[in-house]
């Protein structure tokens, strides 16, 4: 087998795969944030907590009700989405006429409360969640071993990202969303139910977080802190991609996952900061983000 700069291919491919897996989570989570920010102008700090809640709902479904992974993949995002809808109706919708900052503070507070509740009941040692039997094991690709579940995570995230992109960019509903993102007062004055669009968008964005949580449950242990650890990186991804840009969020998510993986191979000490270094550079050179439209 070939060697690159003295790095064995197994190590390189292994880290690339790990990067792609992380990138899958970055992409799905930053996509949800971008969708929410685009239409609602809310920086949803509760996103990490809702991702964690998605993983916990899947765990609870399995351990309390005996409901397995596949139904949980639908039910947990649904539950998180409905929770999101309740949050939007009862709290967030009261803040739309105020500055961004209030939405951020509210969702940040909600994140702390949700995490605190789960920490109180389940502790922070983490709970195991089995890989579904259909996806146990893996394939030897010759140059590396590919666990089936990890391949599934990548495929599932690409499907969800592409589906969301398609819905927003190519459908009638998406045209309403894009138009309302630009000028919601005018879209409302055409007779479109913009408040309904807002609540559905928040519900959908939070459901995406819940979906990512279920995907993550078998890989990382189910832990009240899992969202808090991830969300800071995801915010950096959103800033790099450009606030509110759908394609930007997706592409940047995967790209940064891979860059992080490669950094782990070539300069392991830098792997935990590389995303933030890139963020700083992007902010200096192109403050609206790689895919953002200048405000």
């Amino acid at each position: 087998m070939f060697e690159l700069l003295g790095i064995p291919p197994q190590v390189l491919m292994g880290q690339l795969l790990l990067g792609l897996i992380n990138g899958s989570f970055y992409a799905v989570l930053s996509l949800g944030l971008a969708v929410i920010f685009g239409l609602l102008n809310v920086i949803n700090f509760a996103h990490g907590a809702l991702y964690m809640a998605g993983a916990f709902v899947a765990w609870m479904l399995l351990n309390y009700l005996g409901v397995g992974y596949w139904p949980a993949l639908i039910l947990a995002p649904l539950a998180v989405g409905i929770f999101g809808i309740v949050l939007e109706r009862t709290m967030l919708s009261r803040l739309y006429h105020l500055d961004h900052l209030y939405g951020l503070l509210l969702t940040f507070g909600l994140a702390l409360i949700i995490q605190g509740l789960f920490r109180n009941y389940y502790g922070i040692s983490g709970l195991p969640y089995r890989i579904p039997s259909a996806l146990a094991g893996g394939h030897n690709l010759g140059f590396m071993f590919l666990p089936n579940y990890r391949a599934w995570v990548i495929v599932a995230s690409i499907i969800v990202c592409f589906g969301t992109w398609f819905m927003i960019e190519k459908t009638r509903l998406g045209a309403y969303l894009r138009a309302a993102t630009e000028n919601s007062a005018l879209v409302n004055a055409f007779g479109v139910n913009v408040p309904l669009l807002l609540v559905l968008t928040y519900g959908f964005g939070t459901a995406l977080a819940g979906f990512a949580g279920v995907l993550a449950a078998p890989i990382y242990s189910v832990n009240p802190n899992m969202g808090a650890d991830l969300i800071i990186i995801v915010f950096a991804v959103v800033v790099i991609g450009g606030m509110g840009s759908i394609m930007g969020a997706i592409v940047t998510g995967y790209m940064l996952g891979i860059i992080e993986g490669l950094t782990r191979v070539f300069y392991p000490e830098g792997s935990s900061v590389v995303i933030f270094v890139i963020m700083a550079i992007v902010l200096l050179i192109k403050p609206e983000g790689l895919f953002g439209r200048a405000a």
Binding site: A179, E182, A185, L186, N188, A189, G191
Partner: protein, 235 residues
């Protein structure tokens, strides 16, 4: 005329936050009429349209449309009653292509123009239907802004300065379109700076000054009132 009025505005007041912009607007529009609101910049013409449409942050008074009091309704419900607006600066959506812009306002009643008929009226839009909305020329964007509210079935149109900044040949086309719409039974309230254009399309003119309607001039009497008009408009 007060019996046949499709729209009757009485004592309409409007605010943007602390700033009080409409101080009791009164006027009427009969079914099938084209009426303009004339006045200087900042007189309250655009705010009057937004007030009718329910798009001001706060409004008081009375706006009766087709026998229904709409003052307590939000803009979405008002739109559903059959009023459509072509806003100042056109309001074309940059993230939508021409056809998506056209299809955006939902149908609120039967009798709207279908896409074929719209493309017949505005052939340029058909050629450019896959272009990004804001990549069109100013004139084409104005056509698009008018065309998209013709699809909805609304028969009462609020047009805010449709000729602003456009070349004479396009102004003429828009004038022709308004005349055609009038013959098809549309009722139109037009905000205009271009007094000559207003005189070429409208039945009556209301003069707006400092948030109030101060005078009404029928188009037939416009020559006799040129002096007065010049005084109002400061031309």
């Amino acid at each position: 005329m007060s019996d046949g009025a499709l729209l009757r505005v009485e004592g309409l007041q409007g605010w943007y936050g602390e700033s009080h912009v409409l101080h009791g607007i009164d006027f009427e529009v009969a079914r099938g009429e084209v009426v303009t609101l004339l006045g200087r910049n900042g007189a309250g013409k655009t705010s009057t349209l937004l007030g009718i449409m329910g798009m001001l942050p706060r409004r008081e008074g009375s706006v009766v449309f087709d026998g229904t009091e709409t003052i307590a309704m939000n803009s979405r419900r008002i739109a559903r009653h059959g009023i459509a607006i072509c806003p100042e600066e056109r309001g074309i959506f940059a993230s939508l292509n021409v056809e998506e812009n056209l299809m955006l306002p939902p149908r609120i009643a039967g009798g709207g123009l279908d896409l074929d008929r719209i493309y017949e009226l505005f052939p340029n839009l058909k050629e450019r239907r896959r272009s990004q909305g804001t990549k069109l020329s100013g004139g084409e964007q104005q056509m698009l802004a008018i065309a998209r509210i013709l699809r909805t079935g609304a028969k009462f149109l609020l047009l805010d300065e449709p000729t602003e900044g456009l070349a004479p040949v396009i102004v003429k086309h828009i004038g022709g379109t308004i005349a055609k719409l009038k013959t098809e039974g549309f009722t139109i309230v037009l905000v205009e700076q271009n007094f000559r254009f207003a005189a070429s399309v409208a039945d009556r003119h209301y003069i707006v000054q400092e948030g109030q309607v101060v005078d009404m001039i029928a188009n037939a009497d416009i020559d006799a009132n040129t002096e007065k008009l010049h005084g109002y408009l400061g031309v």
